[in-house]
């Protein structure tokens, strides 16, 4: 089943807030091998001017991919998750994600296109606090490999 091109331009309602925890930041930092103590030691983080421990630069993908799930899990979108590979990813950070943040994501489906027998879908997730402060723009292109 091909990917549904009608999804291009779609914007989803803001998600329920994701609460950024110090525990998840530590777990993520350890998984990517980021040993900066700013991820695990609140005193270090505060000495650098942050409110609490901060996340590594790619942590935002965790929240963004949960937002992407709204599209990927939608049967009408026609995306076979087992055939999905990640093509491209970009983050623009307005400030670091910080423990204690409650982050709302708004998913935009920017483009849906076919190329070389594969489908490519570019999504953009705007992450902001509940109060509306922009935190990060995460842009992702997934490739849905064509069938043989």
């Amino acid at each position: 089943m091909p990917v549904n091109a009608d999804f291009q331009g779609r914007e989803y309602p803001p998600t329920e807030p994701y609460r950024v925890s110090a525990a998840k930041i530590r777990e993520f930092a350890e998984a990517v091998g980021s040993t900066d103590p700013v991820h695990v030691d609140a005193d270090v983080a505060r000495a650098r001017g942050y409110a609490d421990v901060i996340a590594p630069p790619t942590f935002a993908v965790l929240i963004a991919q949960q937002c992407d799930g709204q599209l990927i899990r939608d049967p009408d979108a026609g995306i076979d998750f087992s055939r999905v590979v990640h093509g491209e990813q970009r983050f623009v950070h307005h400030r670091p994600l910080t423990a204690g943040d409650a982050i709302v994501g708004t998913l935009h489906v920017d483009t849906v296109r076919e190329a070389g027998g594969h489908a490519m879908v570019t999504t953009r997730t705007e992450l902001a606090t509940e109060a509306g402060e922009p935190v990060c723009t995460a842009t992702s292109t997934i490739v849905i490999r064509g069938g043989e």
Partner: protein
Amino acid sequence: MNEHPTTPAAPATVRSAADVTVGEALPPVTIHVDRPRLVQYAGASLDRNRIHWDEPFAKQVGLPDVIAHGMFTMGSAVTLVTDWVGDAGRVVEYGTRFTKPVVVPYDGGADIEVSGVVKALDPETKRVTVELTATAGGEKVLGRAIAVAVLD
């Protein structure tokens, strides 16, 4: 794998823009990735796609073997930049293409070689642009990998 840094609280020693020159190379690193690490990343990131840990499944969907999460490669590669800058919170932009998968065999895993070069520096804003190169098995696995950080 699970080292908990115990560095005492201290002000950040962020690299100064005055000490950086365009064309400068960052110290390269080798990142080892194996199946346990991918399971760890899957749990930490909540990306539980089976192609990253289930070998029969990966092969069934046409992949040569289990492949690393592109985001694992991207996330671990940028530690080259954050360690060099001196504060992980200084990265304001980071983007890449995933040009080739990092194939992670059960035996021995894989090594990702990461290097970086300063491509641009704005003395006004103190924003430094670093281009990263990441290879595994001699092939480039990241394309146009660019990180922008704010120096002191």
